[in-house]
Structure formats: structure tokens, C-alpha cells
């Protein structure tokens, strides 16, 4: 490639190999959730995990952000996410037993290096289809994920997940399914 070409990537761009690894990882992670393999799923997170889902509000243009980070649907760390997984493993986790059928679709992958040298930030759009029972109805939970992936001893792990949901009034009766 010659200097001056519009096809020269900026120095900070993420390599195609790294992008592919990250995409494969997140797609496989979504499959673990849809297959309800929570014990394997929780092992994909680092022990300093930050899992946060802020509340969305209705604001006029110019009247501040409509994402309220002070108020949260999830405000979790590795210990509490592990507890949630252990709860799902009991025979009394009524809200997901019998379980919801879920289908997660990830798209619009956007990559940025960092924040740390071993880390990669990936933004994705999440569509989470959820159906429960026999009403013939379903919930569609949409949002934007921002994940920080970290290379730990040669394996990718999720160190941070923020999910900004696209509803101020959630149309699902609880967030008993992971985002």
C-alpha cells in the first residue's frame, strides 16, 4: 500500500485477526446463554467484572442525557453474577423454571483497542428474543452492548459489560435473562 491511499488503516485500528477472534468469542458466548449453559458462561468473565445496565429515561432534546447511570437495572460484579448463576442452578428459581426460550442476535460489531494494552472494546447491537409459556407472545429486548474483552493467559474474557437498553419502560416482566 502506498502512502496517501485512502485504504491505509489508522495505526490504532484493530487487526482483522483480533476482530475475528472477538466476534467468534461473543457469538459463542451468546450461544451459551441461549443454550442455558450458565456454569460455562460465568467462566468467561474476569474476577474484576463490572456488569452494569443503566436506566433509560424520556427527555427532550437538549434536556440532558437519556441514559441514567445512577439508576441501574443491573449493578453487578463477579460475585453477584456468580450468585445469580448459582440461583438458576437450584430447583427453586421459579422465574426461569421452566425456562424462557431465548435467541440472541448480535450485529453491527464495532471495535476499538484498549482501554488497557491487553484489552479490546467491542460495541454490538443486541436483539434478545424471549418467549415464556404458551401465550404465543414474545418480548423483544433491544440494546447496545459495550464489552471490554481482555486477553488472560491466552484466552479472551469479559472484563466489563455495559448494556444500554432501548426502552424507558421495559416490555419484559423481569430481567431474569442475561443481556
Amino acid at each position: 500500500m502506498s502512502a496517501g491511499s485512502i485504504w491505509v488503516l489508522p495505526a490504532e485500528a484493530v487487526s482483522p485477526a483480533a476482530r475475528l477472534a472477538a466476534e467468534d468469542f461473543l457469538v459463542a458466548e451468546a450461544a451459551l446463554l441461549d443454550e442455558r449453559r450458565f456454569d460455562e458462561w460465568i467462566q468467561l468473565f474476569t474476577e474484576d467484572l463490572e456488569y452494569v445496565v443503566p436506566v433509560r429515561t424520556i427527555r427532550r432534546n437538549g434536556n440532558g442525557s437519556d441514559v441514567d447511570w445512577e439508576s441501574r437495572h443491573y449493578d453487578d460484579d463477579y460475585a453477584s453474577m456468580s450468585l445469580r448463576v448459582r440461583r438458576l442452578g437450584t430447583d427453586v428459581a421459579w422465574s426461569e423454571d421452566p425456562p424462557s426460550f431465548t435467541r440472541r442476535v448480535l450485529g453491527n460489531f464495532r471495535y476499538a483497542p484498549g482501554p488497557a494494552a491487553t484489552e479490546l472494546t467491542v460495541k454490538t447491537n443486541l436483539l434478545l428474543f424471549r418467549s415464556r409459556g404458551t401465550t404465543g407472545e414474545h418480548d423483544l429486548i433491544a440494546g447496545e452492548r459495550t464489552d471490554v474483552l481482555r486477553l488472560v493467559e491466552g484466552e479472551l474474557k469479559i472484563a466489563k459489560r455495559h448494556v444500554v437498553l432501548d426502552q424507558a419502560m421495559l416490555g419484559t416482566k423481569n430481567l431474569g435473562v442475561f443481556l
Binding site: T57, R59, S71, H73, R84, T90, N174, L175
Partner: protein, 435 residues
Amino acid sequence: MTHVAINVEERLRESVRPETGEIPLFVYADPEVYKLELERIFGRVWLFVAHESELEEEGAFVVRQMGEQSVIVARGDDGEIRVFLNACRHRGMKLTCEDRGVTSYWRCPYHGFTFANHGNFMGTPFERAAYPPDGLDRDRLRLIEARCDSYAGLIFATWTPEGEGPSLPDFLGDMRWYLDIFAGRAQMELVGEAQRWVVPSSWRLPAENFASDAYHTATAHAFLSRLGLVRGVDFGKAGYHVDAGGGHGLGMGVHDDDPGSYFPEELEAEYRARLDDDQLALLHRIKNFHGNVFPNLSFLIPNFIPVGGRLVTGMMLRVWQPMGPDKMQAWSWFLVEKDAPDWWKTLGRRMYVQTFSSGGMFDQDDTEVWEAQTAVAVSARSRSDEVMLDYTMGLDATPLPDFPGPGTVYDGKFSEAAGRSYYRAWLDLLLEEGR
């Protein structure tokens, strides 16, 4: 004659029997009952609309619901807090469609009718060209206003005019003593926006659950003991059950641990300044605290649990907004002492979110139950017999003679007395008894 043919009021009068612990299934999701509730409960009684901490600035407003009606709760430029129907006096358009803001006026987006933040009609575009030269009648076009008052930082409103119906202090009655402990023991603040979500359930099922039902914890939330987070059923039984009258009810789990209070030492002076000795002594024994202000304001101090070597809890304020006989909105806030140490605020919010919130580990199981109860209740519409439910727990129990707080108080949380009292107040309102 089957009940299908009889008038709903007659059916309620015959089948709702709180004093003997008998409540018919149909009331859980009946469209006719719901219509009566909107008119005779949500259209008349005091309803929680906001917390004072949300409206500190002049011109600050939040948009809330009173029953199915959208209202604006605003602090006017004169410093007064008022509650208005969120409807333009010209064509009924919503004056504001956002959740909150700060403004000195609302200008209707349809034709431009403009109203000051204290409710007065200010004018409309080309007013003297479109209307008689002296303009429109200012008084006639004032915003429709609800009566408003507050207690322990909690702002309530009612559509019943001044001089009719009880004052807010009278409406809250004996519940005030307990609200002092929950919401008045310190200057409190709501943190951020409400979490909101739609649940396919009658609004009343969670309200009566918080008022009266400590017993479900051991089964519905059995994961606690399965995971070794609590011992046995003690977390449900040890404490008090309170029928506070007027349909208000609560339960308290208590401990007698040494050295005592689970609440932060840093706030002790403020608690002492705001509570009397009996209230303070009770606060020091609290390990959990749940209740409901009739009809639909629930509050909770979830069971304290150790996090990072400290015992913490996260206080919840929750409104169950009706959206139909079988649908509601949950509005949920984290409430905390304004001058609390950072660890109490941070860990408290985390506790609240993880236990009782849209994604809370307890809430999930509850919403599942309320939805299924509501779905089952629909079957009552096509049955000729009246399916009666059992509300008799603690029916023969003797109240404590010497509990320091008011209301009818029972030793141990396993009782449905407050639930029976809830349905008595509810029935009297629906049938307009005593009006």
C-alpha cells in the same frame, strides 16, 4: 341466578368477606372491578406521586401517574409543590411528554396554549385575533389541579377536593409511625430515575403481598436457604406483623444481635433527632421491613446481608400503576439517606438492584407468581360457582398488648391480618360504604 348475571357491586358485597378470611378469586382480574377501582380508589384516595428530593429546584417537575391519568408534579416559581392533570385545557393534549425537566411554563405543542408552572393560563398565540379582544378567561383555563400534601418527604395527591375526605395525615393514620422509621428517620433522597417495567399482573397482587405476605418468602424465594444465605425459615417469621388500619400494612423482621443496630453509626445522631425513643429502639432491631401504603405504594428494607465484611441493605420505594385489570407498570426507586457514608450508598444501591428491581433475584420470582395468579383469575369469568381463596392465617391470633407502635400488632410475621384489612378498606371504597 348465577353471579355472571348479577351486578358487580352486589357480587362484591356477597363474596368478599375479609373478616372471615374469604376472598373470591374473580377480584384478581375482573374488568368491572377494575373500572370501580379507577373511579372509587384511584380517583379519590391519596396516591404517592413523588419524593421531595426530586423537586428541590424551583420549576423542577416530574411526570407521574395517578391511576391511568398522567400528572405533572411541579415546584412552582413560588416554591409550592403542585400536581396538575397533564392535559391542555384547549384540546386535552399532553402538556409534556418527557419524564422530568425544569421549566417556568408548559406550552402545548398542538396550538400553543401556555400555562405557568403554578398552573395559571398565560396566553395563546394570536389570542386577541382569534378570540374576543379582551382574550380568554384566565381563571376558567387554569390547569386541573389535584390536592397535594407530603409526609416524611413522600408527596401524595388526591382528586378529592379540600374539605371532603380525609387529610393526608388522617389517611395515613397509624402508618405514619412506621413511615417515620422508613422514610423519615433521616433526610432521604431518591437516586436517579425510576426503573419501570410492565408486568402482566393485576396491580393489587403485589400491593397486598408487600402489605401482608412475609410467609411466601420461604417458598417463593427458597433459593436463599438453598444457597445457604439464610438459616431455616427464621428470616420470615421472627418479627412483627402490623395491621395499621385503613388498608395499610407491614411486616418487620427483627434481631437481637449485639452490639445492635445494622444501620450506619454515622447517621445515628440524625436518627436520634428525628425519631422518638421507641422508634429508634425498633430501628436498631430491624433486619428487614416491608409494607404497603394503601392502595399501591410499597416500601422495603430487604434483609441485611454481609457484603465485603459489612452488613448492608438497599431500600426500595415502589409504585404499582394500574394499566388494566390484568396489567400494570412497576415503578421502582432506590431510597437512601442523603448524608449517608459512601459505602452505605454504593453497596446499598447494589443490594437493591440485585434483590428487588427489574432484574432483582427476588422480584423475578414474584412477577412470575403475580402473572400466573392473574391468568388463573380469568377463569372465574366462566365459572358458575364462586371460587373462594383462603386468607385465614392468624385469624385467631391475639395482638400484642404492649407493642410500643400503633396499629394492631402481632408477634411473628406469619399472618394475613393486614391482607384482610387491605380488602376491608378496598371493599368499603368500592361499595362507597361510609361516604
